[in-house]
Symmetry: C2
Subunit: 110 residues, 2 copies
DNA sequence: ATCGTATATCGATGAAATACGATAATGATG
DNA sequence: CATCATTATCGTATTTCATCGATATACGAT
């Protein structure tokens, strides 16, 4: 499931406030470029990421910034090996976002 | 299903770019106060909203601003009747966000 | 050791978000 | 009609975001 080139993703903190967590994850997705980056990473199972810059009409430094935001939110993880990066989308984290959303909508029916 | 005090929610535009839409909706949720507001509205099926200000440690004008953001993103809808507001959470829109998320993660398995 | 490539970080800048108080608008109430 | 209660809007200060170019860093190849 999880590709070889990346270390294990950090665990999800169950004690965190759901509203804060939801807002935090949503914020990381709150930019089209970051959604596209995430989609790009999700599309290739081997999580090779060299070439993200070419996919977007943005400067390299800007893309790097967006990657940082995604990384800090835990939506992607990985490592940089000198000249090569190996980022992976953390599906579990994305599913956590989905679960938080579902938890929101099913509240009143519980 | 949809409460009486609110008009019909605006329809969802199917032609919009999914990444833009996802980012737009996520952005509206990218603040804890707005998540709390949404949760508050989802909790009461009758969508009465008088009292949101009391739920949050924020000035009334700030809450109004957050409501505006949610409204413009289509996550809530409703009308103001002078001294009384009647906002409803748009469950369909929230589910659209969930669907866009799912569409993202299931991409490579399609 | 030098060059080339790929990524991250820094610094600056303009745009947008967040917050508040003050004010306006609108209905309800006396 | 005057007043109260509730919400929206305006003006403004502060912070955060987005973007870029320039520079730093790390590795591979020559």
């Amino acid at each position: 499931m999880s590709p070889k080139c990346c270390p294990a993703p950090p665990p999800i903190d169950p004690a965190a406030d759901p509203d804060e967590t939801l807002a935090r994850l949503a914020k990381a997705l709150a930019h089209p470029a970051r959604v596209k980056i995430l989609r790009f990473l999700l599309e290739r199972e081997d999580c090779m990421a060299g070439g993200i810059v070419q996919e977007l009409p943005l400067a390299q430094s800007t893309v790097s910034q967006h990657l940082k935001v995604l990384r800090e939110a835990g939506l992607i993880y990985g490592e940089v090996d000198g000249t090569r990066i190996c980022y992976c989308a953390d599906r579990e984290r994305i599913e956590q976002l989905g679960a938080l959303l579902t938890g929101l909508t099913t509240l009143s029916y519980a």
